[in-house]
């Protein structure tokens, strides 16, 4: 794969990386650093992409491995509530304010989940089948279904608490 092809593929699938950065990076500088790190790791891992799986599947694996293994001490800026950060980022993308608020709440709630649960939810919301999720994460489909039910219940509670400001 040439550099131009790679850049085109990354641009076509940039949403994946942005969502992962959004959920695994706690501040804007962290997200920018993580975005760059994921791109660098993807480029380094290009020789391992042999076309046996979809490019997006391969990209999920590299991106999630990079985000989950990122053990650096996070940069901290002045404390800003997560809801304020969400609003600044999401506002321009959605016209429906109600949808915007729901998405902000969802991002905040997912952000409070453990690292592995975040990965499962991202893949679920990206409409990946349980077989594809197993291919990316290495967790078997039965275990994934059980986890997903628990995560849905957790998110219901979290979104309720966030809406009530707790």
């Amino acid at each position: 794969m040439t550099q131009e092809e790679f850049v085109r593929q990354v641009q076509a699938n940039e949403g994946i990386i942005q969502k992962i950065c959004r959920l695994y990076g706690h501040t804007q500088p962290d997200r920018e650093d993580l975005f760059q790190e994921i791109v660098v790791q993807l480029w380094k891992a290009v020789p391992t992409f042999r076309g046996q799986s979809k490019f997006s599947t391969w990209m999920y694996r590299v991106s999630l491995n990079t985000a989950i293994s990122d053990f650096r001490k996070k940069k901290r800026t002045l404390p800003v509530s997560e809801t304020e950060i969400d609003s600044v980022e999401i506002k321009s993308e959605l016209s429906d304010v109600n949808e915007e608020e729901k998405l902000n709440t969802l991002y905040t709630a997912i952000g409070r989940l453990p690292e592995i649960d975040k990965a499962i939810v991202i893949l679920y919301l990206e409409d990946k089948s349980y077989e594809e999720m197993e291919d990316i994460l290495g967790i078997n489909t039965n275990n994934l279904r059980v986890k997903m039910n628990r995560i849905k219940e957790k998110l219901r509670q979290l979104t309720k608490n966030i809406s009530y400001g707790t």
Partner: protein, 207 residues
């Protein structure tokens, strides 16, 4: 809020696109991952060791009309041992990550390799003590087979061989044990958090 109802809204991108030029610029930058940083630090340490040990070895070969060339050879041998040590550590670091593997396999690989790396660091960092003792002993006794005064650390008429060997053995054992404890504390400080974190992540996957 039901998760399934959020799938349509979720598909919108959460931020501004980075642009082809910005992405292309990123490709030329160094990785800031912990493993890449460790590799860079290791390369720097190796260069410093080569420079320091190489300089000292060269000095003892050239100066004093090669009278102390044995010290030069000692440093040259230690340099070879250090090179092997760095090569082994670098090999372990190269094996530590497989970013295109499944997430669970990658975490298991990282944990397994990091534990091997820590074990190697601990054992070699402690073994350096007896190795240095032996080298020091060889050089010392070669250059000065006897002293003008009595000491338990040198063989003499009043100090039999078994006594001086026992004295060195005790000193060696105490030094090695102290080094082991210090190394364990240091290694735990450097890598303990990472190992615990990896175990935690794997536990989340297996729950």
């Amino acid at each position: 809020m039901e998760l399934d109802d959020m799938k349509n809204i979720w598909s919108d991108k959460p931020g501004k696109p980075a642009g082809a030029e910005k992405i292309a610029t990123m490709l030329g930058r160094q990785s800031q991952s912990p493993i890449e940083k460790m590799k860079r630090n290791l390369r720097m340490e190796l260069l410093i060791v080569i420079f320091c040990f190489g300089s000292v070895a060269a000095y003892y070969f050239i100066a004093f009309k090669s009278q102390y060339s044995i010290i030069g050879w000692t440093y040259a041998l230690l340099l070879i041992l250090f090179c092997w040590y760095f090569f082994r550590k670098n090999k372990l670091l190269n094996e530590m990550q497989c970013s295109s593997c499944q997430v669970k396999s990658n975490l298991e690989l990282q944990l397994r390799t990091l534990e091997r790396y820590v074990r190697f660091y601990l054992i070699s960092g402690t073994a350096i003590i007896p190795v240095l003792f032996i080298f020091l002993g060889i050089v010392l006794y070669y250059k000065k087979p006897s002293l003008n005064r009595d000491t338990v650390f040198y063989p003499s008429e009043t100090n039999p061989v078994w006594k001086f060997l026992l004295a060195w053995l005790i000193l060696l054992t105490i030094s090695t044990m102290i080094m082991w404890v210090l190394n364990r504390g240091y290694v735990n400080k450097l890598y303990g958090r990472h190992i615990r974190r990896l175990k935690q992540l794997l536990a989340q996957m297996n729950e």
